[in-house]
């Protein structure tokens, strides 16, 4: 009995080491937070147009079909990298809406001219208040909304082509069903 008790510290250590190893080896990025909006109706869109002569965002913009709402900014360096992916998504029949976060109309116009404009409408969120409504904590973020107006997925950070083909395309297929 006495030598059994002597093994107790070792057993405790083994259990603790196991717990820590599990936490360390798990693929988990603490900077990526799950969205509380998934499975819930998308927040109301009500933003003035960011581009002259084009539409702003209204609640009707979300009805019918699959919509991607992309929160970006012309001052955001990583946002440049996802423009080709957004263009491809548009080609694949996804309605891409933009929310320009803490940006100016002049800069947005120049930026979209330079990097391509996949958006069917861009709303200007000058104070960043609409972004809070969506639970945004850093640009770029992209929300995927189904035909019923329910948020189905959130992508944090720039959307690479690889992310799109590997993760999002299957999800979009499922959303179309």
């Amino acid at each position: 009995m006495a030598h059994k008790a002597a093994l107790m510290p070792l057993a405790c250590f083994a259990v603790l080491a196991g717990v820590f190893a599990m936490a360390l080896l798990r693929e988990h990025n603490p900077a990526i937070l799950p969205s509380a909006l998934i499975g819930k109706p998308a927040p109301a869109l009500e933003l003035p147009a960011a581009l002259k002569g084009s539409k702003g965002l209204t609640p009707e913009a979300l009805t019918g079909g699959i919509t991607a709402v992309n929160i970006f900014a012309s001052w955001c360096v990583t946002c440049v990298g996802e423009q080709p992916t957004l263009m491809q998504m548009k080609k694949d029949g996804v309605t891409v809406l933009g929310i320009a976060y803490k940006d100016s109309r002049e800069n947005i116009a120049l930026w979209l001219q330079k990097h391509g404009n996949p958006f069917s409408a861009v709303g200007l969120d000058e104070k960043g208040r609409a972004a809070i409504d969506w639970g945004v904590y850093g640009v770029p973020e992209t929300y995927f909304i189904d035909a019923e107006g329910i948020v189905r997925h959130k992508h944090i950070g720039a959307l690479s082509m690889q992310d799109y083909t590997a993760k999002l395309k299957p999800l979009l297929e499922e959303m179309r069903k």
Binding site: P34, S35, L37, K40, G128, R129, G135
Partner: protein, 131 residues
């Protein structure tokens, strides 16, 4: 000696630097105190270990303003908390709320204490019998 006491007085009068900008503060001290209490328990999503009340991040400043606007509009603490939790999840609160998923977290200290007491009792009683 006088200099030392003067310096000491200065030291105890100084307050920790706060992130809240003077122009963010509300005129009504009671309302401002409520705002501070709320933002003290809100997590800054960008700098995760920090509270919104202490953070210099632009998003934290936006959240401080939002909380104050809501209070001025007559919203209660509960309404503001519900609004933010619906958008950022329970993670936005510095103190995790008690729910089925956090139950284990809250119960863990008690469970460990009971377990430890049990083990201690077992060994003490056995030692008593042997002696």
């Amino acid at each position: 000696m006088k200099i030392i006491s003067a310096l000491f007085l200065l030291l105890i009068l100084s307050l920790p630097a706060l992130a809240v900008e003077p122009d963010e503060m509300l005129k009504d001290p009671a309302l401002e105190a409520r705002a501070r209490a709320i933002t003290h328990n809100l997590r800054c999503l960008v700098c995760q270990g920090e509270a919104v009340d202490e953070s210099q991040a632009p998003l934290a400043a936006d959240l401080r303003k939002l909380v104050r606007e809501r209070l001025l509009a007559g919203d209660s603490e509960k309404t503001i908390e519900t609004y933010l939790r619906a958008r950022y999840g329970d993670y936005v609160l510095m103190t995790p709320p008690f729910s089925p998923t956090t139950g284990l977290l809250w119960a863990a200290p008690l469970v460990v204490l009971l377990l430890g007491t049990g083990i201690a009792f077992f060994f003490i009683r056995r030692a008593g019998k042997e002696g």
